[in-house]
């Protein structure tokens, strides 16, 4: 067994413990600030959204855009956060990177689901159907499946620390292949039914739509980081409790 392995597999490893402690201090301070920021941004964003003028084609349903589009953006951003965490988890074998990866996955799945659900609600009045095998929707659906698979993988191990490496590797493999999936799905759809579904083609989105959308996107981001830090804090605490229980059990 190599020395680095020994550090990694040892119970509550030595240099890892110092860093999560510092993280806990940081999280305790950051979470209230981020939570306030989230509420503030959502307040402004929702106010502006509801005061946005009706679209001349879509009427009130255009309001769905303000919760739908940021969710789709966040679905992709979360995967990027997970991939960066996965790099940290593989290269430095940092426990906190694993905590970050593992706790981001459910958030990403929820944002992806939100994007699909609100998109479906928007599609019914606009396209007359809940679901269309449109290139974009299909690739988001595949992203949701990948998220759910990764969550299942992270829960499949008896010992949570054993899941770190498989999870990180599958996340990175997914990150390498997702652009190809996206491209292939675009190809697949244009091959079968060229442009039967035209998406919201506003050539230049007016500022009355753009500003609320951007503020809503910032609000979603603040929400993501608030929840991510909160669930990371929970995970660190859960691991400490686990380590304590193990210690107690060993003492008998």
């Amino acid at each position: 067994m190599t020395p680095e392995n020994a550090i990694h597999t040892g119970p509550s490893n030595l240099w890892g413990l110092a860093n999560p402690t510092r993280f806990m201090g940081f999280a305790n301070r950051a979470i209230p600030i981020l939570a306030c920021l989230t509420i503030l941004l959502f307040g402004i964003g929702l106010y502006l959204s509801f005061n946005a003028p009706e679209d001349y084609q879509q009427g009130y349903t255009v309001l769905i855009m303000f919760i739908h589009v940021p969710a789709a953006w966040l679905a992709m951003m979360t995967y990027s956060v997970m991939s960066i965490s996965a790099l940290g988890s593989i290269i430095w074998r940092h426990p906190l990177a694993d905590v970050s990866l593992r706790t981001a996955a459910p958030l990403g799945a929820i944002f992806t689901f939100l994007a699909l659900a609100t998109g479906s609600l928007w599609g019914k009045p606009m396209w007359g159907t809940w679901w269309e095998w449109d290139a974009r929707m299909t690739s988001v659906l595949i992203l949701l499946i990948i998220y759910l698979g990764l969550i299942a993988l992270s829960k499949a191990f008896d010992e949570p620390s054993e899941a770190a490496q498989p999870l990180a590797i599958m996340t990175l493999v997914g990150f390498a292949i997702i652009p190809i999936i996206k491209f292939s799905v675009d190809w697949w759809n244009t091959l079968h039914q060229p442009a039967s579904v035209s998406r919201l083609d506003t050539p230049a989105m007016g500022p009355e739509f753009l500003y609320p959308l951007l503020i809503m996107a910032l609000a979603y981001m603040a929400l993501f980081f608030t929840l991510h830090f909160m669930s990371m804090r929970n995970e660190v605490l859960a691991r400490r409790i686990r380590a304590m229980k193990m210690k107690q059990a060993r003492r008998g």
């Binding site: 067994m1 190599t2 392995n5 990694h8 597999t9 593989i90 595949i142 499946i145 990948i146 759910l148 698979g149 990764l150 299942a152 993988l153 499949a156 191990f157 054993e162 490496q165 498989p166 590797i169 599958m170 990175l172 493999v173 997914g174 390498a176 292949i177 190809i180 999936i181 491209f183 292939s184 799905v185 190809w187 697949w188 091959l191």
Partner: protein, 219 residues
């Protein structure tokens, strides 16, 4: 490396004919489809490339979680890791051997099943060529999944869930190429070349992931 390849194929061959089981599963899937969609030959010949591809996909996924598991159990995986050969090459060879024993028999069995599904000779040819180019990618991506399975003794189903979304591009371009061969306006070369490109790309990515995964798992 050649010795390793020979050993892999021999093991797969002698341990109860893994290749034959895969083809049998393929046959079962192909047989079940007409029951589901009805015995209409026109419809079947239209669906045949899709049926053959899905059958091949499922058959290739079937033995995936066992790709490294037996070696892990009897310790020969640790020996391979410690031998000092570049690990990526070792896993490349292992994935390739897996394809030889699971993918290649399916390709060879395709003409028979194609005739059963009333597929035209051109369609059979196109299906064979695309399967030949595409199924290695399933084995290579599968190697990444299989390396995860090593740590997860009962994770067969989960590995399929993880691997299936990742092989969607293979299916898309395989079917696109067949459609291109059978219908005039659609192109054949472009999707076929993309299919080959995906196979080459995954032939690097899969063994790389497997080697990172298994390098440190020797304990």
């Amino acid at each position: 490396m050649v010795a390793l390849l020979k050993r892999e194929v021999q093991i797969a061959w002698r341990s109860g004919g893994g290749a034959l089981t895969g083809v049998l599963f393929f046959l079962a899937v192909v047989t079940v489809f007409p029951f589901a969609v009805g015995p209409d030959t026109k419809l079947l010949s239209h669906l045949a490339p899709a049926i053959l591809w899905i059958g091949a996909l499922l058959a290739s996924l079937l033995g995936l979680d066992r790709m490294f598991a037996q070696e892990r159990e009897d310790g020969s995986l640790d020996v391979l890791v410690m031998q000092g050969h570049p690990l990526m090459a070792v896993f490349f060879v292992k994935a390739f051997a897996h394809w030889l024993m699971s993918g290649l028999p399916l390709v060879l069995a395709t003409p028979l099943f194609g005739i059963m599904l009333n597929l035209s000779p051109l369609g059979i040819g196109a299906t064979m060529v695309t399967l030949l180019a595409g199924t290695p990618a399933i084995s290579f991506i599968g190697a990444a999944g299989a390396s995860v399975a090593v740590k997860l003794p009962r994770g067969g189903m989960l590995i399929s869930v993880l691997v299936l979304p990742l092989v969607i591009p293979v299916l898309v371009f395989g079917i696109a190429a067949i459609t291109g061969a059978l219908q005039d306006p659609a192109p054949f070369t472009a999707p076929f070349l993309l299919l080959c490109a995906i196979t080459l790309f995954t032939s690097v990515l899969g063994p790389l992931a497997a080697s990172v995964m298994l390098r440190h798992s020797a304990d």
